[in-house]
């Protein structure tokens, strides 16, 4: 387990995601037990084969636990208990392995969709600025399908970040990118998470992802 200086620095601000006494079960079988505190800017990596409950953990955190699973324990986001709050009111951003951009909206439309309704006036400028920061300047009016895989991943990242989440979950976010692109995108995502001081949990089965995250690593085992 690696610890580094950044952790203590992040602890100074109040941003944190706490998983308290979680026990996740499928029917009667215990999948995993967890007790974790993630400070803003830290990335907790969860590794394990499929069927070990990694995705179920993310589903529980977002309030989308499927039928057949049960959980006990609590989630605190910035010291507020959110265990029983509806999915859409949790302010936890999600980044999947597929960018899942909305095909009926432009690149700018996808990002604008995610931004808070109030920020109407500077919206256009904010989007252009954010796009140019990740090397996508001028692509506002393109439709998402016309972008490359790496470009789509970056738009998906901007979409999450500009929705101003209080924490972020990464579900094998780089597994569909080839190695060069993977490294670049990973670096960008982690940089942004640290810059925004967001507590993050990443689920992956790739050791290089885990190493790059430079945070605590939890390994799960297949239960069956």
């Amino acid at each position: 387990m690696q610890k580094h200086e950044r952790t203590s620095a992040a602890m100074a601000n109040t941003s944190s995601l706490v998983i308290e006494q979680l026990t996740l079960k499928r029917q009667q079988q215990v999948l995993l037990s967890l007790n974790e505190t993630i400070a803003g800017g830290d990335i907790l990596t969860v590794m394990g084969p499929s069927g070990s409950g990694k995705s179920t953990l993310l589903n529980w955190l977002t309030g989308m636990l499927p039928k057949g699973f049960s959980a006990s324990g609590d989630i605190y986001l910035n010291e507020k208990k959110i265990t029983d709050i509806a999915s859409h009111q949790r302010q936890i951003g999600l980044l999947y392995q597929d960018p899942l951009l909305f095909p009926h909206l432009t690149v700018a439309g996808n990002i604008s969709f995610a931004m808070p309704a109030e920020a109407k006036a500077q919206r256009k400028a904010t989007i252009s600025q954010a796009l140019s920061q990740v090397g996508l300047a001028g692509l506002e009016q393109r439709c998402p399908q016309s972008l490359s895989g790496g470009q789509q991943a970056r738009v998906a990242l901007l979409r999450v970040l500009l929705s101003q989440p209080k924490a972020i979950l990464l579900d094998e976010p780089f597994s569909k990118l080839d190695s060069q692109l993977r490294q670049e995108t990973r670096q960008l995502v982690f940089e942004q998470i640290r810059q925004h001081k967001l507590p993050a949990i990443m689920v992956t089965h790739d050791q290089s992802d885990a190493d790059a995250a430079q945070g605590k690593i939890i390994s799960l085992f297949s239960v069956d």
């Binding site: 999915s87 859409h88 951003g93 095909p103 909206l105 309704a117 109030e118 109407k120 919206r123």
Partner: protein, 568 residues
């Protein structure tokens, strides 16, 4: 795939052409045989001059404007209602297990023939129906049936109720079918989750994220529903006003009039009906474009909540009311079919008797036998043609052309009232004595598209490597077809057969016209009885109409299971 020359392969190669001919010739021939009289050319009556007298006659018919308006308004409003409620249900229950329950409750409605559904709804809202009984006398104070016009109100509210309740399950199941497509459904659900994680309330997430991607898949079913509703006969005949009726009903009455001169006017009416239907489709398309343009900025304004809780509660109420209406309509019909003396406003009959069932079953022996014979013949033909056409696709390694796939749905898109009369006239010219064959051919026009639609996706999805393996083992194309493909497709074939039978059982207009009154099925009998004297007999007929398709679907579900377990 390179295939050898054999009888089977020749048959397969020629089957698409045969299928096209069986669909195109009747529809086109029927249309021409309506267009000519509409333009004044009707040699049987000695009219050989082209003129527009038919249209002039039509124009001078009292109430013609009301008829057209009634057709347009009832079909447009019912389609909008069905679409909006479908979307509200999907939006409200998108992530909830309730969606599956609602699907299971509404699914069976789909196979209830329009005539039977109309009879059931008529029973519910008629002055002495279940609805007014349940309200009386404690709420309404009525001791005798109220003096309202339902189910024959001049505004067409009953028609709208009937059409909406029939269209809604169809649209909902089509939408759920799209969502059940593995890749697309998975993506749409994931995108919905993304929108939730971005803070969107579930309802808004559905309308802003899922609907724009889902709608293109629903456009064709919606247009088909609208086209059907605008020219349907059964529901307006049973649930609509009499004077004036909808245009389609009026056209049917003119065609059937003893005064053959009215045929000219009826033909002109059929042309107007097609025009109205096309205008309605155009109107829907324009509305869609308008809403699309107006909503563009709303999609990205970042607003996450539009009274979602209220909409959700409203949807709960609508869904509950709808299921209650359907439940009460069915219950009422069962009660009537067993009712002895039943005083108003009692909710239940005083006595229950089986005599209506006994006498009705006695009477319906011939119609029942004819219903089954016609259904089996039409479905059998449709299945054979469909399987051979799909097989020919695999021989030539390319899907049938776009034109062909449009032609398959032609009989569903062109109002049947517009071409059936011409078709019947043509058939009479060719073989006036073979009524049974005429009815089967007319049914085939409507059975074939559904059977094709139902079988095509499973046939095309079949892993081609099975055929390659079999061919490499030396099996001929015929052997592969019979011994590999058909057994593997047993379940979809059974479902297609059940669907084909259900469609055939429910046909009213084709039976009535092609049969020339000499062949009666359960459906034509039920419609005739619906406006007649005995509500109890009518209830029995409508119930038999519902039980027949239910029975074949039950068999289609159970038989493959029995056959397959037998094999193990």
């Amino acid at each position: 795939m390179i295939t050898a020359k054999s009888g089977f392969n020749t048959l397969v190669r020629s089957s698409p052409y045969l299928m096209m001919a069986l669909l195109v010739l009747p529809v086109m021939g029927g249309l021409i045989a309506v267009v000519l009289p509409a333009l004044g050319w009707f040699p049987v009556l000695g009219y050989t001059q082209f003129n527009l007298n038919g249209f002039v006659d039509l124009w001078q018919t009292p109430g013609i404007g009301d008829m057209a308006l009634l057709s347009v308004s009832t079909s447009f409003i019912s389609t909008i209602l069905a679409f909006v409620i479908t979307m509200l249900i999907l939006g409200s229950y998108f992530t909830s297990p309730w969606l599956a329950y609602i699907q299971r409750l509404l699914g069976p409605i789909l196979v209830i023939p329009h005539a039977a559904a109309a009879i059931a709804i008529g029973f519910l809202i008629t002055p002495s129906g279940m609805f007014s009984r349940l309200m009386s006398p404690w709420f309404s104070g009525w001791d005798s049936p109220p003096d309202w016009l339902f189910p024959h109100d001049a505004m067409g509210l009953s028609i709208i109720l009937g059409l909406t309740l029939k269209e809604l399950p169809f649209l909902l199941l089509m939408a759920l079918g799209v969502l059940a497509q593995p890749e697309l459904g998975h993506t749409l659900r994931a995108q919905h989750r993304v929108a939730l994680s971005l803070g969107y309330c579930p309802m808004t997430a559905f309308f802003k994220v899922v609907l724009p991607s889902l709608y293109p898949f629903l456009r064709l079913p919606i247009l088909a529903v609208l086209a059907y509703a605008s020219a349907s006969v059964e529901i307006p005949l049973i649930l609509g006003p009499n004077s004036p009726p909808t245009l389609a009903v009026a056209i049917m009455q003119w065609f059937h009039d003893v005064d053959l001169n009215l045929r000219i006017k009826a033909s002109a009416g059929a042309i107007v009906q097609i025009t109205l239907t096309l205008l309605l489709l155009l109107g829907w398309w324009l509305t869609e474009k308008l809403i699309n343009t107006l909503s563009q900025s709303m999609l990205v304004n970042g607003k996450r909540e539009y009274a979602g809780a209220i909409m959700q509660n409203m949807t709960h109420v609508i869904t509950l009311v709808m299921l209650t209406v359907i439940g009460l309509a069915l219950l009422g019909m069962v009660l009537w079919s067993f009712a002895g003396f039943w005083a108003y406003p009692d909710v239940l009959p005083h006595t229950f008797v089986t005599q209506h069932w006994q006498s009705a079953l006695q009477q319906m022996r011939t119609p029942l036998l004819d219903t089954v014979l016609i259904g089996v013949s039409a479905t059998g033909l449709a299945i054979v043609l469909t399987l051979l056409t799909l097989e020919s696709e695999q021989h030539t390694s390319k899907a049938i052309s776009r034109l062909t796939s449009v032609i398959i749905y032609l009989p569903l898109l062109i109002p049947s009232i517009a071409f059936l009369f011409g078709l019947v006239w043509l058939l009479e010219q060719m073989n006036s004595h073979h009524t049974f064959i005429n009815v089967v051919l007319a049914h085939l026009l409507f059975v074939l598209p559904y059977v094709f639609l139902s079988l095509a996706s499973s046939y095309r999805r079949l892993d081609p490597r099975f055929s390659y393996v079999a061919a490499s083992l030396g099996a001929s194309q015929a052997k592969i077809f019979w011994q590999i493909k058909l057994p593997m497709l047993l379940v979809p074939i059974f479902i297609a057969v059940a669907l084909g039978l259900a469609i055939s059982f429910s046909q009213y207009l084709p039976t009535l016209l092609a049969g020339g009154g000499r062949i009666n099925t359960i459906t034509t009998e039920a419609v005739t009885l619906a406006n007649g004297a005995s509500r109890r007999t009518s209830a029995v007929y409508a119930l038999v109409q519902m039980l027949l398709p239910a029975l074949v679907f039950l068999l289609a579900w159970a038989l493959p299971k029995m056959l397959l377990t037998h094999r193990e």
